[in-house]
C-alpha cells in the first residue's frame, strides 16, 4: 500500500519534470542563431515567402506564446513536422524506437549479466589478480569514447576478420514488424534464420554501448559490496556463525544492489546518449541515427522531439528504478 502511494507520488512529479525538460529543450533550440523559417523556405526564397512561413508556423509570435503552443501540441502528440523527412516527428520517432530499444536493452542485459558477478567477485577477492584485471578492463571501458570503440570494433571484426556485417540491422529489407524488435519478431514467427541474422547485426553495435555500462556497474557493485562487507550487521552475522554464502549472496548482495540499481537508471541515460554516435557509425536505423541526421540538417522539430522523447524515457526508467529501490529498501518507503 505504501509502495503504491510512493509510486503515485513519484508519478505526480513527472509532469512538472517534463515541463521543465520541455522548457530547456525549447529555450536551447530558440537561442541558437538560426532562422527555421529561412531554413524551411530555402536560401534563395523571397522574403515574403519566408514571412508567410513564419506566420504559418507561428514563429512570429512572442516566445512565451510559442512555448505554450509547443507544449499544448506535444501533449496532444504533435511534435511538428520534420524538415528532413517531411513527416510528423512523432511518427518518425515511434517508427525508429524499437531499433534503438532493442540495441539498448541488449546492451543493458549484457552489462548487468557481466557487471554484477564481476563486481561481486572482485570485491570478494580484493587485490587479487582477477580484481586487477577487472579494474584494467573497466577503467579502459570508461575511458574509451563510444564512437572510437565502435569504429575500432568495426575495423577489426567487420573489415579485417569479416566476422560481422559492417552496418545495418538485418539482411535484406527486413520483415514486416510485429513488435519492431527483430529478435523478438523472429522468435514469434519461429524464423530462426532471421533471428541469427539480426543477432549477427546486433553483436557489434551492442559492444560499445555495453562495455562502458558494464564498467560502471562493476565499479559500483564492487564499491557497494566492499562497503557493506565492513558494516556492523555483517560482523554480527559472522560472529554468530551464519554460513558465509548466506551472508554474502543474501545479505551483502541485496544491500549492495541498492546502490548499483541507482546507477543502472543513470547508465540507461548514458546508453541512449551513446546510441546517437554508435548508431551513426553502424548506420543502425534507430533514434540515434535520426537524431544525428537531424542535427546535420538543422531539423529543429526533430531535434527537439528526439531530446524530449529520450528525456521522457530516461525519466520513466528512473521512476522504475525508484520504485524497485523502494521494494528492496524498506527504509525509503
Amino acid at each position: 500500500m505504501r509502495l503504491l502511494a510512493l509510486a503515485a507520488r513519484r508519478c505526480l512529479w513527472m509532469p512538472p519534470t517534463l515541463l521543465g525538460l520541455t522548457l530547456i529543450v525549447f529555450s536551447i533550440s530558440h537561442i541558437i542563431p538560426s532562422d527555421p523559417a529561412r531554413v524551411l523556405a530555402g536560401e534563395n526564397a523571397p522574403i515574403e515567402q519566408v514571412e508567410a512561413l513564419r506566420r504559418k508556423f507561428g514563429l512570429d509570435l512572442p516566445l512565451p506564446q510559442q512555448f505554450f503552443r509547443y507544449v499544448t501540441d506535444v501533449v496532444s502528440g504533435n511534435m511538428g513536422i520534420s524538415l528532413y523527412t517531411q513527416r510528423p516527428v512523432a511518427d518518425d520517432l515511434l517508427e525508429r524506437l524499437p531499433a534503438t530499444f532493442e540495441l539498448a536493452i541488449y546492451a543493458m542485459i549484457l552489462a548487468v549479466l557481466l557487471g554484477l558477478p564481476l563486481g561481486v567477485v572482485s570485491a570478494l577477492r580484493r587485490n587479487s589478480l582477477l580484481d586487477h584485471a577487472v579494474r584494467v578492463v573497466t577503467i579502459s571501458g570508461l575511458a574509451m569514447a563510444a564512437f572510437w570503440l565502435a569504429i575500432l570494433l568495426q575495423l577489426l571484426f567487420s573489415m579485417k576478420l569479416n566476422l560481422t556485417p559492417v552496418q545495418g540491422r538485418i539482411d535484406g529489407w527486413g520483415p514486416d514488424p510485429i513488435t519492431g524488435f527483430y529478435t523478438l519478431d523472429a522468435v514469434l514467427r519461429g524464423d530462426w534464420e532471421m533471428l541469427g541474422s539480426s543477432l549477427r547485426y546486433l553483436a557489434l553495435p551492442v559492444m560499445p554501448l555495453a562495455i562502458p555500462a558494464m564498467a560502471t556497474i562493476v565499479r559500483f557493485t564492487r564499491a557497494g559490496v566492499l562497503n557493506v562487507m565492513s558494516s556492523n550487521f555483517v560482523f554480527y552475522q559472522n560472529a554468530m556463525g551464519l554460513p558465509r554464502r548466506v551472508v554474502i549472496w543474501k545479505y551483502i548482495l541485496r544491500s549492495a544492489l541498492i546502490g548499483t540499481l541507482t546507477q543502472i537508471g543513470l547508465v540507461f541515460g548514458n546508453l541512449l546518449a551513446g546510441a546517437v554516435v554508435v548508431e551513426a557509425v553502424f548506420s543502425w536505423p534507430g533514434l540515434g541515427t535520426y537524431a544525428y541526421n537531424s542535427i546535420l540538417q538543422s531539423d529543429y522539430n526533430a531535434i527537439m522531439g528526439f531530446t524530449l522523447f529520450t528525456g521522457t524515457v530516461f525519466i520513466c526508467v528512473n521512476l522504475l528504478v525508484d520504485i524497485a529501490q523502494a521494494v528492496l529498501d524498506p527504509r525509503g518507503r
Binding site: S231, N232, F233, N238, A239, G241, L242, Y251, S255, R331
Partner: protein, 332 residues
Amino acid sequence: MADEFLSVHDLSVSFGTEGGVARVLDQVSLSMRAGEIMGLVGESGCGKTTLARAILGVLPDNALIDSGTLTFDGADLLHAGATEHIRGRAITFVPQDPFGSFSPLFTVGDQIAELMRWKSPDRSPGERFYARARRSADMERTLALLRAVQLPEPERLLRKYPHELSGGQRQRVMIAMALLPEPKLVIADEPTTALDVTIQAQILKLLRRLATERGASVLFTTHDLGTAWEICDRVTVMYAGQEAETAEVVDFFGRPRHPYTRMLLDSLPTQGAALRGIPGEVPSPYAPPPGCRFHPRCPRATAICQDSHNAAVEPVAGHSVRCHHPHEWAAT
C-alpha cells in the same frame, strides 16, 4: 582447573597497519568458570574488544596471533577456529551497536528465523533443509524468549523492520537472539553503550537474570565500572593490552591490589571531592613501554617493572594480580 571452561593463556595479538605493528593484546591470561558473569573492564583501546573478538573467532583480517592459547570446553579456539557448533551455538554474541547490527532490508522476524535456521538447538549437524516442524518449534521458542526479554506483542514485532524499533527494543531482540541457540557463553561487547542511561540498567539486569536462569556464562566488556559493579560476579581489568587484576566483584572494588586498579577507582567522581585523574597518558600500542605497560605512570614502579610483566602474584582467594609490587591483600 576442571571448572574453567574458558581459558585464555598468554594471548598476544598484533594488528598490522600502515602506521606499523600495534600489539593490542600482550600476554593476556583470563579464565572463566561455567555460569559466571565476568566483567572485562578498561579504558577505550585497552584491548577488551579485541579479546572478545578473539574468543568469537572474528578478529579483523590484519590481526596476527603472536602467541598464546585459547580453549573453550576443551576445544582449541585459536587454531582450529570456531566451528559451526561453537560459533553462534555454544558461544553467542550481543553487539555494541544495536542500530547497525541488523540488516536494514529484512524484517526482524526474517533475521531471527535466519539465525534459528542455522543455530537452533534443535538443528542436527549438516541439516540442509529447514523442516516445517523445526520451523514451528523455533517460532514458539522465539516468541517465548521475546516475551522473556519483555517485548510486548512479539508477533507484531517480528513483522517490523529494524528501523521501526527503538534502540532499547533492538537490544532486547539482540539479547533474545544471543540466548535462542541456548549457548554456554554469551560475549556481550559494551552492550548498552549506545543506549540511554535510563535503559542501560534495565537491559543489563535482564541479560544477567536470563543468562543465569539458563545457565549461560556472560563475558561482558565495559568501560563503565558502575555497570560492572552492578551485574558482574567477577571483574578483570585491562590496561593497554595487558590484564592487570582479576577478582570477585566485592574484592575488586573493596580491596584492589594493582596500583592501576586503585588509581582507576580513586579517579571515580565522589561527592564533595575534586576530580582526580591518573597522571600521564595511555601508551601508544605501536611503541608500548617494555615490561609492565603501566610502569611509566605507576608510583610503585621499580627497575624490575621494565623487564617483565609476567610476574603474576600467587592468587589469594581467587584474587589474582599481575604486578611486581602489589598492594597487600587486606583480609577483612
